[in-house]
């Protein structure tokens, strides 16, 4: 199992795209079992179908990782035009059985990332667990929750006010608001009435999740 922070995944994809149509390559370094650093390396082959790292840059990267208390966990590279599977070349040149080999495919519009363990020319696939940034809101729980998805202005504010009217001062209201006018207007109005918006974050579907402390 390869545990990788979400932002590292994003960096790998970004690096791959910036080098395309050439292959991009680099190291992934971990701390406490989670990959938390992406070290972009130069592909001295400058080829769209294979890569080689510069040995001098490799040693430099390994040294600076040690200095930071990190350990090299994996090698990654991109496949600009093909699937996220090791090529014959990749298998042949995977010298370090202690490392995982991560391949990002940019073949489709949404990239695919896979990890492999390659030992004695034998390839086995490795599961990747993506670690999302820890949410500051996870420690606070709402006393009352209102899902106002699909409720436009001003009824969303009306319902928010009704919810507050049934709460004690200091209690926390959890709200889901649609993107657009609802998120632009409701927080402003509740702040004007003296309530405190503790957090506000966008969800995958574009709606917003808020925690508000009643004044």
């Amino acid at each position: 199992m390869l545990r990788v922070k979400q932002e590292i995944i994003d960096e790998i994809v970004e690096h791959g795209r910036s080098e395309a149509p050439l292959e991009a390559c680099g190291y992934l370094a971990e701390k406490d079992g989670v990959v938390c650093k992406c070290i972009a390396m130069k592909n001295i082959d400058a080829s769209p179908v294979h890569y080689s790292m510069d040995p001098a840059q490799q040693f430099g990267a390994i040294r600076s990782c040690r200095a930071e208390g990190l350990a090299i966990r994996a090698v990654y590279h991109s496949h600009p035009e093909t699937a996220a599977h090791p090529s014959a070349e990749d298998i042949k040149l995977a010298y370090d059985p202690a490392l995982s080999y991560v391949i990002v495919s940019l073949e489709e519009s949404s990239p695919t990332i896979n990890s492999f363990i390659i030992k004695n020319d034998k390839v086995s696939s490795e599961q990747i667990e993506i670690i999302r940034a820890e949410k500051m809101t996870t420690t606070i729980t709402a006393d009352v929750f209102q899902n106002l998805r699909g409720i436009g202005c001003p009824m969303n504010l009306v319902k928010t006010k009704v919810a507050f009217s049934k709460m004690q001062s200091g209690q926390i209201l959890g709200l889901i608001l649609d993107n657009g006018p609802p998120i632009n207007n409701v927080p402003r109005s509740v702040i004007r009435e003296g309530h405190e918006v503790l957090s506000q974050e966008q969800l995958d579907d574009g709606a917003w999740s808020l925690l508000i402390r009643k004044a």
Binding site: P154, M155, L157, V158, K159, K161, V162, F164, S165, K166
Partner: protein, 276 residues
């Protein structure tokens, strides 16, 4: 605490959105009881707005029926209502605007004998009566029972209104003492009145009732608001409680309710001609 239905939340959303009214204010309105004296020029707009606002119980008292000459300013009544009791006509419109509320109708002429019983239990009274004896009767009964009320009057292009909180602010008698002699009083039939000023004044009175119930802002107490529609000038004349007031002063000469000479309590079916 009231659990608002979805329909109520939408109906009253513009009140709930107001910071100073909000959920609590709307709840107070739904639980409030307001009596409107007179279903005419002032009572019509007041009744419609209070019904729309969701004032939970609205009483309306008037012994007259709708006449065609009323329709120029008494906007609760329609041409089809000619000959119908004004309170029935008004109640129909109020319920049509808002089926959520209770309307109590009184087809009676307010007089010393019935006023205390009728006003008991109401939180606020809107005086939209057409004659001075009844205006003074409403004032005195409210002072005795401690019920706040809004006085209103219109003539030609002018209007006046004041809000009285018994025991706290100047009353109608503090400034006006007693009803003018009937022969000096010009009636609407003679003097005329610009219809829309009934709406200007009646809506101010309704606003005062809503403010009193919700506690928003400052009431029009210790002040007489007057306006002249020809120049659209508004003036607020400061009034103060008078120690010499015959009903709320230090040595009141009026200690119980009596009908003024020109009162028509006995003549229930045909009230005497009165102004406006």
């Amino acid at each position: 605490m009231i659990d608002f239905t979805e329909e109520q939340l939408e109906r009253y959303s513009r009140h709930i959105l107001l910071d100073d009214v909000g959920v609590d204010g709307q709840e107070k309105l739904l639980q409030a009881k307001v009596l409107i004296v007179g279903a005419g020029g002032l009572g019509s707009p007041a009744a419609l707005y209070l019904a729309a606002a969701g004032v939970g119980t609205i009483g309306i008292i008037d012994s007259d029926s709708v006449e065609i000459s009323n329709l120029q300013r008494q906007i609760a009544h329609f041409t089809k209502d000619i000959g119908v009791f004004k309170v029935d006509s008004a109640a129909e419109k109020m319920q049509a605007i808002n089926p959520d509320i209770t309307v109590r109708t009184y087809k009676e002429y307010l007089c010393a004998a019935n006023i205390t019983k009728i006003i008991a239990g109401y939180d606020f009274i809107i005086d939209g009566t057409d004659n001075f004896p009844t205006k003074f009767l409403v004032n005195d009964a409210c002072i005795f029972t401690g019920i706040p009320f809004s006085h209103g009057g219109i003539l030609r292009f002018n209007g006046q209104t004041m809000t009285v909180v018994p025991g706290e602010s100047a009353c109608y008698r503090c400034s006006f003492r007693e009803a003018p002699p009937p022969d000096a009083v010009p009636s609407c039939a003679q003097a005329g009145v610009l219809g829309a000023i009934a709406g200007m004044l009646g809506t101010i009175q309704a606003t005062e009732a809503l403010k009193y119930i919700t506690g928003v802002g400052e009431l029009l107490t210790n002040g007489l608001l007057t306006f002249d529609a020809r120049t659209l000038t508004f003036r607020k004349i400061n009034l103060a409680r008078q120690k010499s007031c015959p009903v709320c002063g230090e040595e009141p000469s009026i200690t119980h309710l009596v009908d003024a000479e020109q009162s028509v309590c006995e003549l229930k079916s045909e009230p005497v001609a009165a102004p406006c």
